[in-house]
Symmetry: C3
């Protein structure tokens, strides 16, 4: 590849654009192609995969010099996995390779088809619905009330992006930006445009995702969004803890109730472990900004998630510390709601309604902390907690889950 001659301050490259029938199968750019005033050995590599269930999947690997991660346009611009220095970001799902959505049938397995492709570090649940499978009532195109079945975690993670563009700041702070557009749309159904910007800075320890979700319909539409962020080793281990500024925590069911006293502690892998789910309301600063961190036992490896409670007011903790083989993982899940069936969430007033052309914005930042920085982050989160004592509910609560 020839070196680029730059007159503009931003380098831009369109990778996919279905409207103009643009598509680039394989493309790489790195510090060898663009001379930046920086010593980081960064690169961006777009590939198309073949074979197995990953056949025809597009991936974009971004390496900012310190932190690398793999974006998957074909799977709704989710992030498969990452690495910061020696630390793996993500988890070891039983499903080792990416799964092309063409092999996913959401309504199969009683609405659990989503689980056939679940192996990402960061995966969005939504947008029409994002929770447990179940029925809801809608008004159909013939003006009738109609019972519909909503499958687990919705469609957005299994929709290929229609547009992907990469931009690189050629001046400080040298941001790399992967922009994608994913449409969740159908005739006589929802029509959401999700515009995502996935940003990192050369040499940094963070990724920031900014999603703008627009209701393209001429009538109002309900919208749900959860960021299902999943961690295994090395952040998750026997003795890891969740550090979070907590207002209230509620167990989902009997398995969660039994372990309510250790809800923020994680055990090592245990074959046959039954998942425990806790619903959390968090505290934030004056502007509603909050942060949670998963900290390893020794307290020298931490991974934080920062977001706004105005955008993502509900937080779900999914503890699935099963065996390595069956997916040793904990899910940290900020969202517009709890991942219950939509009918239940609507009843509790936790479903967003977007007017025609209204936009919902969610920003979420992922960072990795090593050594002393872990303590600093913990201090920051403790300040958010302040003197407020977390309210710990010890039973199933009718506002949070069905009896």
């Amino acid at each position: 590849m020839n070196r680029f001659i730059m007159n503009k301050k931003i380098f831009r490259k369109t990778i996919i654009d279905t409207a103009s029938q643009t598509y680039i199968e394989d493309w790489k750019i790195s510090n060898k192609d663009i001379e930046l005033e920086s010593n980081y050995e960064w690169y961006i590599h777009k590939k198309r995969l073949y074979g197995g269930k990953q056949d025809n999947i597009d991936i974009i690997e971004v390496n900012n010099g310190s932190l690398s991660f793999i974006i998957v346009p074909t799977r709704g611009m989710g992030i498969w996995k990452g690495k910061f220095k020696d630390c793996f970001l993500g988890w070891e799902s039983p499903i080792k390779q990416l799964v092309n959505p063409c092999y996913i049938k959401l309504e199969e397995r009683g609405g659990l088809g989503w689980l056939d492709g679940f192996n990402e570090w960061i995966v969005r649940c939504g947008l029409e619905n994002n929770g447990a499978p179940g029925e809801d009532i809608i008004i159909d195109n013939m003006g009738r009330e109609k019972k519909v079945f909503l499958p687990l975690h919705g469609k957005i993670a299994n929709i290929p992006a229609d547009k992907v563009e990469i931009s690189i700041d050629l001046e400080k702070k040298f941001e790399i930006n992967v922009n994608g557009i994913v449409y969740e749309r159908s005739m006589f159904g929802s029509n959401f445009k999700m515009s995502t910007s996935i940003v990192t800075e050369l040499g940094s320890n963070w990724i920031k995702i900014k999603d703008v979700i627009e209701n393209l319909r001429a009538i109002p539409s309900e919208m749900q969004l959860i960021y299902h962020c999943n961690y295994g080793e090395p952040f998750l281990e026997d003795g890891s803890t969740l550090i979070a500024p907590i207002k209230r925590v509620v167990p989902r069911d009997k398995y969660a109730i039994e372990n309510i006293d250790s809800f923020s502690y994680f055990s090592g892998p245990k074959p046959g472990f039954i998942e425990q789910v806790y619903f959390l309301e968090l505290l934030g600063d004056d502007e509603g900004k909050t942060m949670v961190m998963l900290k390893n036992k020794e307290g020298i490896k931490g991974t934080s998630i920062s977001f706004s409670l105005k955008q993502l007011p509900y937080f779900t903790l999914w503890k699935n510390t099963a065996s390595y083989e069956d997916g040793y993982v904990v899910g940290l899940e900020p969202g517009t709601n709890f991942p219950n069936n939509r009918a239940f969430e609507r009843e509790k007033g936790r479903v967003v309604k977007l007017a025609p052309n209204a936009k919902y914005i969610a920003e979420i930042t992922f960072a990795v902390h090593l050594d002393k920085e872990v303590e600093e982050i913990e201090e920051y989160i403790k300040k958010l907690q302040g003197r407020i004592k977390p309210e710990i509910i010890r039973n199933v609560h009718p506002d949070f889950s069905k009896a």
Copy 2:
């Protein structure tokens, strides 16, 4: 590309033939490649698309010099959209790009999965069934009566063609012919071979589709076919009308009943509009030939559909003049039946039964008319109407839809 040297009167090119494992990814031919005694700047362009849900879709764009249109082998040889001079042919579905059938699950959404890919100008519904989703009873491979669920509009629009061949007449009238074969088949299920010829003439204002549907089974099979032909602007606008020779018109439900007096008039886009459906019996000439036209307000843009009532005796009018965003569209739908559930249509004697190896032929011609020609076409249709007064049913009729 070198100029072809022609000794034959027809130029032929095989684009896809699964049996011989023939496949051409990208191919173009135009007036620059073949010298015809004609001044039209025509071309045919076969492409494979990538990215989004259109990944791996084959399209064939045909431009006869005046009229262009895009055939989609991957979607059952439907016609995505077209253009005649400045006039767009088709509609603006909320789904902007083509959808590979691998992403369509017909039985999802309570049998409405078909709607996830619906954006064509001309799309066939059928062949095992073509109407509303619902149950029917069949005899299964074990000789038992079995309840089956039939999804909306059937399978044919979501089956990739096994064979596509292009031929070009090298002598007047310089016809371009795109031939395709689509099989709707399964073990212990229907087995239809649909051979389609999609024909246009250089410089003409028309496309003619000839479909031959053969029952390949050694036992009789029921068959259903509807041509779902969909129009938005500029033919559809506030004040557009349907010009048709009508014997009888029947409203489907209360929304249609309420508007029966203006059933042939179309309004501008209206957010939240509930679809209105009318079942029509048309009049034809002595041979059963008939024609309908969608005419714009001013009466200077018209688009007609011609067919035989012997082949396609039932006509459905689908008025969905919703907002632009949600699909401002009217569907003109000649068919072998009305698009009710198959069990209902069978009861009313409107399901074709094909003997082993029997063939059903349907021919349908689409034309565009501008200026004075619109009037001429209207005159022709009025002659078909003659002195017969359309019978207007003002209630739901048990022969046409369920109470």
Copy 3:
């Protein structure tokens, strides 16, 4: 292609490896590329198919000089069809081309979606379940009893292989080995690794399949496996017979009962024929080895299947001598169980349970016999029968099928 220089005794080539993102689209090797001390004109040809429902399917054609066959990595390493000298191996399904699993929705058609892609000579049913569609009860990830729907014949035949490697013995006996790995896995579901070796010898009349199925979960998993081996002409014809060492035979339903006296005889094609299914217990030698043969009328063409009753103790005979058009076929089906719903088979003690990391091995050999060899094979099978008289049950038996 250049001739290979060989220092090792085995030539190896990786065709697909999703883990290392290795994929070869088109590859051929033959006796012209490797000089073996053999005169056979053999070849191996890997291709990717395009167009129709076979779009993006990988096939590997193996020709050992006498016997050729086509392995389909994209369809779970099944064997599409074969040829020995002039004899076709396989059957004429109504589905003429291979079907990419992305077009298969197992749960559609009331759980009969599998039938939309069924046209192989040898296709595995399993691994989570392998029988008739129906409900079963499992314990889900939330620790609750949950009703699940299991579709016909399970998933394994519709999962693309993650790894395919070809090896060729460079010394006698010049074996060609196609190794594949297929994972049937999901989060909160089964997780099986099937490692298959498909072996043949230059110039031989046989293929041997060795499958090793490992439970990758940390908890025990039920496993089911059937080899659905299907034959049409020339082995199946009016007057063909099944030669098998039979302990007991049980008819499945009234259609089988009516024809129990001729259960091992096959008729010519008959339109509208209702399938007849028989459940068989076979006899074997001291080590449990057994063999069955389908013999043509004249007794000069036979095709045998050899396996161990320790590995595959149950044998199902599927007679579907319908018209050529609708699939004139007989299925010989050795398995770990009978192809009833899993709940029923569990009740009868015929479901394998694999401990964590336990492996189940199944070996099965397919051979073709012409002329005198047919008699020799028949003699061998008769010896297995010995003086034991087959027990013929003339009614539905509650241990074998539901009343």
